[in-house]
């Protein structure tokens, strides 16, 4: 490991499910403080890419690296350096948001005081009166906020977000984007899968368009024009490019 390694990198990554190639020769580099949005339609391979960093999948060839090391060679890396926010945050229904946070954190060896736990939830946007309620009564957005609190508690080097704003109302999505931005500004590397162009443009530093497992275009989010991005994205989606 050396300090110039990007926090997250994919090198010639190929991931296959039986015969089907879900990720095809993908190359990515995400340095500290960078939010990278993987933009693409359903089935483009975004989730598979994220899963591979988390070692839910194994590469068929190529590799993923976390600060220069392969998590498939050293399983400890995932625990130590990654935070994960799935598309549907999975929580235990019969426990409260607070209990879920505390449980997941304890399992990740993070000791939280009750005050710390409450403030993590508040910082993630979950109203105080919901903290003690059972998750079964939560909306999708509320679950997402607990998920974010869990991910933040880890103080990880990198955060992997799979469609974090899908199903959130616009104002919640906006809040969420700002929290992600803030985390990146504190030095976190973020890999975010999304099919929401607006969301990508709003938060990301770099945007990659993925299609059929391949990275077909890459942009600097700060310089690309929204119209241009939109046209390219739609063209790929319609299979014109």
């Amino acid at each position: 490991m050396n300090s110039v390694s990007p926090v997250l990198a994919a090198q010639n990554l190929v991931v296959e499910y039986r015969q089907h190639r879900a990720v095809d020769n993908l190359n990515l580099q995400i340095p500290q403080g960078c939010v990278y949005a993987l933009l693409g339609g359903n089935g483009a391979g975004k989730s598979t890419t994220i899963s591979t960093f988390l070692t839910f999948n194994r590469p068929s060839s190529g590799q993923v690296l976390i600060e220069g090391e392969s998590p498939h060679a050293n399983a400890e890396l995932v625990r130590a350096k990654l935070a994960y926010l799935p598309e549907n945050v999975a929580l235990y229904e019969v426990m409260s948001g607070l209990e879920n946070l505390t449980y997941f954190c304890t399992l990740a060896n993070i000791r939280l005081s009750s005050d710390q736990a409450h403030s993590l939830l508040l910082d993630s946007g979950l109203q105080a009166d919901a903290h003690q309620k059972r998750v079964a009564a939560y909306s999708k957005g509320m679950r997402q906020k607990v998920g974010l609190a869990i991910a933040s508690a880890k103080q990880a080097k990198a955060m992997l977000l799979d469609e974090p704003t899908s199903g959130l109302d616009p104002s919640a999505a906006n809040d969420f984007a700002q929290r992600i931005r803030a985390a990146a500004d504190r030095g976190m590397a973020v890999l975010m899968a999304t099919h929401d162009l607006f969301n990508a443009k709003q938060v990301a530093d770099r945007i990659g368009i993925m299609k059929n497992g391949r990275l077909v275009e890459e942009f600097d989010a700060h310089t690309v024009q929204h119209d241009e991005l939109e046209q390219k994205y739609l063209a790929h989606a319609r299979g014109l490019a």
Binding site: L54, A75, R79, V89, A90, Y92, M95, L107
Partner: protein, 470 residues
């Protein structure tokens, strides 16, 4: 980490409505059945005690008569059940527990309640242990079958994996958390049962130990089911497949294994039928065992030996009653033959019991049932222990009457008499049931099978943990 998992699983199981609803239904059922069978046990004990006392009192108050005639009056003796039998009546419905003790002949136990009880009564007896050995494992299956697959389906497994949770700790944490929740729900009922038992029966230390060990092995048994259910839940992809397989296993273990075991035992080590059994005893007595000569030869030899011993040439001149002496000699031979045949029969029971474990490949229930009835003192080994003690007692009082008969007459006359003080001098039958050490030695194979299943289930849990993919 594992403590956190145990605590969370414990809380989640308790908060999950299923445990409470199912558990409480089962417990109400259990307590109902328990009260019924306890009441029955109490009745039975009182009945046995009073019939036993009456029988001996009737013996005691016989009129003046020939001692051997008095012996023919006979004495009934009863096997007292341990209080633990309220939880498992074992073989009580199938074998009797009283013995009719009479001269010349050793009897098999009679007083078989199953023969003169309506179906409802049998149902009531069987169900306390049915709840403990069959329904509670089913409850465990119902609570556990989706414990891992649900986490996989909902995605929490991926969360846990991304947090670096060790799969082994997760699965074993689930096992211990579930068992703790299960015990908490079960504890009030068992406590209640224990209090009721303690309040209604005089408990010896041995009874208490038996009860304690029974609780312990039941827990091991439930643990086996829970470990198997959790590893199946981790192994199979969907909750449905898991449930299907676990129900199959439960059926096989609880219902098919005992029948398979019984059938294998009966085929591989068949018992003689009753008429054959008694005929062989009669033949052995008539024709004599090897080198003993037949009945007539033995009688002649005995007569010659007695005449020589007393230095007389005719039976009529003997200073003691020859009729009694001769009878005692014949009885001794009969005792020897009976002992051989009875032991062979009961050794075959033991062989059958061991062979029945061929059914234990299908699950631990057969071993548990057998172990539980042994701990309750309601199995064949305790029965045999009782029968042997009763046989000792039979020989004791028959020989006593023969002593009186022989010493109070001479030659071939039959004038000996006895009176109430004689009859009263026959000690009461006081049976000391064997202790828990005896039970544990008897149940060695059952214990071994149960531990093997526990080991297997824990091993499977370890394997499932190693292959657990999010």
């Amino acid at each position: 980490m594992i403590k956190t998992i145990i605590r969370k699983e414990f809380l989640a199981t308790l908060r999950d409505g299923r445990l409470l609803t199912l558990g409480i239904t089962l417990l109400v059922l259990f307590v109902g059945f328990f009260l019924t069978s306890m009441y029955e046990l109490q009745q039975l004990r009182a009945e046995k005690h009073s019939v036993g006392t009456t029988a001996k009192e009737q013996w005691n108050t016989q009129s003046v008569k020939n001692p051997h005639s008095a012996a023919h009056y006979g004495i009934y003796v009863f096997k007292q059940d341990t209080p633990v039998a309220a939880l498992d009546p074992g073989l009580r419905p199938y074998i009797g527990q009283s013995l009719w003790l009479e001269p010349h002949k050793r009897n098999l136990t009679r007083f078989n309640p199953a023969a003169d009880q309506v179906l409802a009564g049998r149902f009531g007896q069987a169900t306390t242990s049915f709840v403990l050995t069959a329904l509670l494992p089913l409850l465990i299956v119902a609570l556990t079958f989706n414990s891992v697959s649900q986490e996989r389906e909902s995605g929490t497994l991926r969360m846990l994996h991304s947090l670096g949770v060790d799969a082994g700790q997760l699965l074993f944490g689930k096992l211990l958390g579930l068992m703790t929740a299960f015990s908490v729900v079960l504890a009030p009922a068992l406590l209640l049962a224990a209090v009721i038992l303690l309040g209604n029966f005089a408990f010896t230390l041995d009874d208490a130990l038996r009860l304690l060990v029974l609780m312990l092995v039941l827990n091991l048994y439930y643990g086996t089911f829970a470990a198997l259910a959790i590893s199946a839940s981790a192994y199979f992809n969907t909750s449905r497949t898991t449930l299907f397989c676990l129900l199959g296993f439960w059926l096989a273990s609880v219902f098919i294994a005992p029948r398979l075991g019984a059938v294998s035992a009966e085929i591989l080590a068949p018992n003689p039928n009753a008429s054959q059994f008694w005929r062989e005893i009669k033949d052995d007595i008539d024709h004599g065992l090897e080198h003993d000569g037949d009945h007539e030869e033995r009688a002649k030899a005995f007569e010659a030996q007695v005449l020589a011993q007393y230095g007389v040439s005719r039976k009529e001149d003997l200073p003691v009653g020859f009729v009694s002496l001769n009878r005692q000699h014949n009885d001794a031979y009969s005792v020897k033959v009976h002992a051989l045949r009875f032991d062979a029969l009961r050794d075959n029971f033991v062989r059958q019991q061991h062979l029945s474990h061929l059914g234990s490949w299908l699950g631990p229930s057969l071993a548990l049932r057998s172990l539980s009835m042994t701990l309750a003192g309601m199995d064949l080994a305790h029965q045999r222990h009782f029968e042997d003690a009763a046989e000792q007692y039979r020989q004791y009082f028959i020989n006593l009457t023969e002593d009186w008969d022989r010493e109070r007459s001479r030659g071939t006359e039959r004038k000996a008499t006895g009176e109430e003080t004689d009859w009263r001098s026959v000690a009461d039958f006081s049976y000391q049931a064997p202790n828990i050490g005896f039970a544990l030695r008897t149940a060695e194979v059952d214990l071994l099978v149960l531990l093997l299943w526990l080991g297997l289930s824990v091993g499977l849990l370890k394997i499932s943990a190693r292959r657990l993919a999010p």
